[in-house]
């Protein structure tokens, strides 16, 4: 009968399985190359834990004109990988701890990330560096019109302007590199009820962020610009307003902070905020005469620098005036050095230790200012205007410009020359080009990535 035959067939099959594999256990171990840097003979009595660290110049993210981003190895100038981007109109910056390239597209409500593959973890008893291939992260942060992205002390705050047309209010989301690697689903968020072109400064569990009042009340000329700053405190993933600073800041635009102060640009001066007895105090440094009708709309600050540099520029990008802002003395003053009239600045930045301020201009000059102490006052003086390009500026591709990015692990700045299609590494100590990376294409912008070194205090 078939039934018995089938049964016996099944039994035979099982029997065969039993015979061939009964209780089999097989382990194959293939030793791979050891991680030398990952040495664990950590001697508790001798904290020379350099052996966990990777000595590298870092990596460079290069945004191309045709919406892709390439990651280069700065040690040997080789291209590690190229990633095509979803959206055409993207901007490039780095994440708060420089592990990720941050790709933002304001018009597409998109913020995405590329993992440079280099990062550092604090393993408690030692710092531990990692070096891997770059990779596009699946993680995205969405929000309406991501506009200003600021970073401070391991936090990156994204100001989403919102959109008046669709009545989408503004918001702020704060993301750390750990959030990006862990793909945190709910980020600390500040939700507004109205859209605005605002500014935010993150500090620990707090945000100093702008407030747009009712248009009837607002002292701003352009109502989309806020005119107040408030302190927000994080509770359960949500920032809640704790205090509104009592100094108005009409047409607020631009902000920066150092260890003690946060500074915001207003049409009538700059607003200075600092913490005092658990409360924030605010004061205004009013505009000086040299500004005339201009106002400070962009501010650069550095954790280690007592003074801020404010940029006052006309709307037609004609002249720019560089202003030193000294919150401790409640004063501002124009720098002695100002850009040449025919060379408009295209990029600004502090060196990684904050003792130099770099102004890259449209003529291909890297103007290096350094801080000098005169009777307790900081003065910014020109060290050198360093010509970084031999090319004819007239050949600059349309819509492109020189760009730069400051290394965070040494006194280097990287400058991209879209005409020569290369990136130069410039040593700021000696002010000379120490190496160049041939791209073979024109870079729209560049951003340094890797393991930032701590500043000496």
């Amino acid at each position: 009968m078939t039934s018995t035959r089938k049964l016996s067939l099944l039994a035979a099959t099982i029997g065969a399985l039993l015979l061939t594999g009964c209780g089999d256990a097989e382990t194959t171990i293939i030793e791979k190359e050891s991680i030398e840097v990952d040495d664990s003979t950590e001697d508790d009595h001798d904290h020379s834990d350099d052996e966990y660290l990777i000595d590298s110049l870092g990596r460079l993210a290069v945004l191309t004109a045709n919406s892709s981003t390439a990651i280069y190895d700065l040690d040997d100038g080789s291209e590690l990988d190229t990633f095509s981007l979803t959206y055409a109109s993207s901007t490039l910056t780095s994440s708060a701890d420089y592990r990720y390239a941050v790709i933002a597209s304001r018009s597409d409500d998109y913020v995405g990330f590329i993992d440079s593959g280099m990062w550092r973890e604090d393993h408690g008893e030692h710092l531990h560096d990692y070096e891997q291939g770059p990779a596009m992260s699946d993680y995205e942060i969405t929000g309406s019109r991501p506009t200003h992205i600021v970073k401070h002390d391991g936090q990156m705050a994204i100001f989403f302007d919102g959109d008046a047309d669709s009545s989408t209010p503004a918001s702020v989301q704060v993301v750390s590199d750990t959030d990006i690697s862990g793909e945190t689903s709910v980020l600390p968020t500040l939700n507004y009820t109205v859209n605005m072109h605002g500014a935010v400064e993150p500090k620990d569990d707090y945000l100093l962020s702008t407030v747009r009042r009712d248009d009837a009340e607002s002292t701003s000329v352009a109502k989309i610009l806020p005119d107040q700053v408030a302190l927000y405190h994080l509770h359960d993933d949500e920032y809640e307003q704790e205090q509104v600073l009592d100094v108005l800041c009409p047409d607020l635009h631009g902000g920066a902070q150092n260890e003690t102060y946060a500074v915001f640009g207003c049409s009538d001066g700059v607003l200075i905020a600092h913490e005092h007895d658990d409360e924030y105090e605010a004061e205004k440094i009013v505009n000086i005469d040299v500004l005339d009708s201009l106002r400070i709309g962009t501010i650069y600050g550095h954790e280690e620098s007592d003074t801020f540099i404010g940029i006052a520029a006309g709307h037609d990008a004609g002249e720019s005036i560089l202003i030193k802002i000294a919150p401790e003395d409640s004063e501002m003053e124009a720098l002695e050095w100002q850009p040449e009239t025919d060379a408009s600045p295209v990029a600004y930045g502090f060196s990684y230790e904050g003792d130099m301020f770099l102004v890259l201009d449209s003529q291909g000059y890297l103007n290096i200012l350094s801080a000098h102490d005169h009777d307790g006052e900081t003065h910014w003086e020109l060290e050198q205007s360093f010509d970084i390009s031999d090319e004819d500026i007239a050949n600059m591709p349309d819509g492109m410009n020189f760009s730069m990015t400051v290394a965070q692990n040494g006194n280097y700045v990287y400058v991209s020359d879209p005409i020569a299609e290369h990136v130069l590494q410039i040593d700021l100590e000696t002010i000379e080009v120490v190496s160049d990376i041939e791209l073979g294409f024109a870079a729209a912008s560049i951003s340094w990535l890797g393991v930032a070194e701590e500043h000496d205090h």
Binding site: L7, C22, G23, A25, E36, S40, T41, E51, D179
Partner: protein, 801 residues
């Protein structure tokens, strides 16, 4: 019988299906001759089922000619089996009598052979209906702990997992509707199980042959959480519940509803609960003896960091057709809970944020073919993520992506053998990233074939199961760091001159591939040696492939406060290197004896078991310590005024290494129930397990002897329960383990049916730990810092429609 059925099979195979429709009519009564309403009658091997009406009557149409086995069950009665041979055109009229059973008999769903606490070769337990609602807790372990043979590893109200006869962790498989729950709860006692009791219909605890349909890992048993997420019919019904509890200020809301339209069934459930740090009768942490006894000013003791909040919902839909159903359900499960004892110092509270998305496809199709009568397909995709967060930063991120598919094929009786086989495939990607990533990323794959059969030989039911499996575990980057471990005796200035000279200093990296072929066999019989009694005997030999965590771990696991090293490695002097030993399967040889009295005013179940596990993977203390100084301040931390005391959290973690040894577990469970009157029932129970190493010594965290009584009063509108459970002290401890004192838990509950509308609405009051006693759970990893909650009262309201 054999001959008849063969002829019938032959005849029925020749007749077209449409001609085979037969009917049975019958009436179900109790022994006093009164009609039993609402008794469920099913026909074995088909999906036909019906309930008796108020006169106890039922009708079946469309049965096929030949032997039909009816299975009649009703609450409070013993199950009844009745074999009926239907002839070509005969209409049977049956009179069936059910006999009372004080021990509730509930069938296990989803196994090809029917099993229940009273009728299978090896013990199974089920929690369902009212009892489930009364005992449900936030965690699976606490929900099941009143079942004989099951205890909880009580992890501070937040992450408890069941221990079955002294076995837990990777040896107990947790399933949701028959499919792996796919979380990381098998890896760490502080990891919560991603299931919810408040929306489930029944929770089954299986041992013996039935487990082989789930996986070989389940040598300790299977816990299957069953709910109705894929509806099998489209009757509109539902259940809702609101509850609040005092000790932890828990608030719970849950509902589930099933409905349908024509051929479609729809299901939705949702739950939400939130609780605060729970109160305890004594200071949570066990004090050092010499503590100045400040006059106890306040009694507001809580277990810090034991709050919890969870929520989730499930949506399901199914297509119902004559031969069965097919449906899909999507579940989102979120839980955020504090991890008591997971803090490195007083200020840093660590909590876990768990998120799981589960998609299940369930289908059952009856096939009118010569050989096969039913095909059940179950598939799931789960995406699990669980981050452990300290200082608002993700410390460790555990991920588990699992794909699973299981096809059960049940055959028509073959020479009176009932049963089927199951093909099973499962693929899991597990990783842990971050500071406490003590297990490297790995990929596990299982392909299995299982067979389960049963046959009645007169008074004897024979059941057997077999499973063969291919398990592979691949990990590309298994790290072997050079561990700077030291012994502890040497006091502060342990002057190690670390002249390591030209020793190896690099972390070695291995590509490890394991391939296992575990084979498990199980056989059992149930002998109804005299009416109303039976004896069950079950023997099994199960092989288990060790899990990735048991093999490949290397790192600090703060959940258990230890530095864990997998069995791939071994200690050589003070250094840890690759173990030269073969990585072998764990083999359990189990014998299980059950004596039951199934009917009458007094019923009982006695189980005794002897389980010898060779190559049992377990952690042993190496006596070494590693420093794990967690610096919680990040680099740029200028603002925190931590300067006061340069906190250098130099916790030292003991190093535990997985080794294998032969162990023996034996013990018993006893349950005696007496239905004193129609409304009053008394139950006494006890369970015990002794877990020891064959060469001497005990396994750690073994549940103590437990006994207790349960009194129940149930009438039409009022139900009252009083449970008294005594946990004895446990002094069978492992090295470095402390003994734990015994305690008595007194719980009571009263519920009242509100006479309103067409809904059944019930209000209830529950009191737990009424004597407010200090109860430290020996099976808990954190018994010294998290005792059970103190006296607590819960009130709730619940409805059915």
């Amino acid at each position: 019988m054999y001959k008849i059925s063969r002829i019938v099979a032959l005849v029925s195979a020749l007749i077209p299906a449409s001609l085979m429709a037969q009917s049975i009519e019958g009436v179900v009564k109790n022994s006093e001759g009164n009609a039993v309403k609402g008794a469920l009658i099913t026909v074995e091997g088909t999906s036909a089922k019906t309930l008796t009406n108020s006169d106890g009557r039922f009708v079946f149409n469309d049965l096929k000619a030949g032997l039909n086995e009816l299975h009649i069950s009703a609450s409070g009665f013993a199950h009844l089996y009745q074999d009926i041979v239907l002839t070509e055109d005969g209409v049977e009229a049956l009179a069936l009598t059910l006999i009372r059973s004080p021990i509730e008999v509930i069938d296990i769903v989803g196994t090809p052979i029917h099993m229940s606490v009273m009728e299978s070769a090896s013990p199974v337990s089920v929690l369902s209906g009212e009892t489930l609602r009364r005992q449900q807790a936030s965690t699976l372990g606490d929900t099941l702990e009143k079942l004989p043979g099951v205890q909880s590893n009580f992890h501070g109200n937040v992450a408890s997992t069941p221990i079955i006869r002294g076995l837990s962790g990777p040896r107990v498989l947790i399933a949701q509707n028959g499919l792996d729950v796919s979380d990381v709860s098998r890896v760490g006692p502080d990891h919560s199980v991603a299931t919810e009791a408040s929306t489930s219909q029944q929770i089954e605890v299986l041992r013996g042959p039935a487990t082989l349909f789930y996986g070989s890992g389940a040598i300790g048993g299977v816990v299957n959480v069953v709910d109705g997420r894929v509806p099998t019919d489209n009757t509109t019904r539902g259940e809702w519940l609101l509850e609040t509890n005092s000790a932890d200020e828990k608030k719970l809301a849950s509902f589930n509803v099933t409905t349908g339209y024509e051929s479609f069934g729809f299901y939705a459930d949702g739950f939400w609960h939130e609780s605060e740090d729970y109160e305890v009768p004594v200071e949570a942490e066990v004090e050092e003896e010499e503590h100045d006894h400040e006059e106890e000013e306040s009694h507001d003791y809580v277990v810090e960091n034991s709050s919890e909040k969870s929520n989730g919902f499930t949506l399901g839909a199914s297509y119902l057709f004559d031969a069965g159903y097919v449906g899909v359900a999507v579940e989102q499960f979120n839980r955020e809970y504090g991890i008591p004892g997971h803090s490195h110092d007083g200020d840093v509270n660590v909590y876990a944020d768990l998120e799981q998305t589960r998609i299940q496809l369930l289908s059952e199709i009856n096939i009118q073919s010569e050989w096969i009568n039913q095909v059940n397909v179950r598939g799931a995709y789960t995406d699990y993520e669980h981050s452990e967060i300290e200082n608002d930063a993700v410390g460790t991120l555990f991920e588990n992506d699992t794909h699973e598919i299981k096809v059960d094929v049940l055959h028509n009786p073959l020479s009176d053998w009932n049963g089927g086989f199951s093909l099973h495939f499962k693929n899991s990607d597990i990783s842990a990233v971050g500071e406490e990533a003590f297990t490297p990323p790995s990929k596990s794959e299982t392909i299995a074939l299982a067979l389960m059969e049963e046959k009645h030989f007169g008074d004897v039911l024979l059941q057997f199961g077999a499973r063969i499996e291919r398990v592979t575990i691949d990990a590309d980057d298994v790290l072997l760091p050079v561990l700077e471990a030291h012994e502890h005796e040497e006091e502060e200035e342990d002057e190690h001159d670390h002249d390591h000279g030209d020793e190896e200093t690099a972390t070695r990296v291995f590509d490890v591939a394991h391939k296992f072929t575990p084979v498990s066999l199980s056989a059992g019989l149930v002998w109804d040696f005299t009416p109303g009694y039976n004896i069950g005997l079950s023997v099994s030999r199960s092989e288990r492939a060790p899990s990735a965590a048991e093999l490949l771990s290397f790192g600090a696991h703060i959940g258990t406060n230890s530095y864990e090293v997998g069995a791939l490695f071994a200690l050589d002097g003070e250094e840890i290197g690759l173990s030269g030993e073969t990585i072998d399967l764990e083999t359990a040889n189990n014998i299980d004896l059950t004596l039951r009295k199934t009917q009458g005013d007094v019923a009982f179940v006695f189980n005794a078991f002897y389980n010898q596990v060779d190559n049992y993977y377990y952690q042993t203390n190496t006596g070494l310590f590693v420093e794990s100084s967690h610096d919680h301040d990040d680099e740029h931390d200028h603002d925190h005024d931590h300067d006061a005391e340069e906190e250098e959290h130099t916790d030292e973690l003991p190093v535990y290494i997985f080794e294998t040894d032969d162990v023996v577990l034996n013990g018993f469970e006893v349950q005696v129930a007496w239905q004193a009157t129609d409304t009053i029932k008394a139950t006494v129970f006890s369970d015990f397990v002794r877990a020891r190493l064959k060469d001497g010594g005990n396994l750690p965290r073994t549940s103590p002897l437990r006994f207790g009584t349960q009194f129940a009063y149930v009438d039409d509108s009022l139900t009252a329960h009083l449970d008294v459970t005594r946990y004895q002290s446990q002094d069978h401890v492992a090295t470095d383990e402390t003994s734990t004192a015994g305690y008595t838990m007194v719980d009571a509950s009263v519920s009242y049916d509100l006479p309103v509308s067409n809904q059944d609405i019930m209000v209830y009051l529950k009191g737990t730990n009424l004597t407010d006693t200090e109860a430290r759970v020996h099976t808990s990893f954190i018994k010294d810092i998290a005792p059970r909650p103190g006296r607590s009262f819960a009130v709730g309201i619940r409805g059915n429609f």
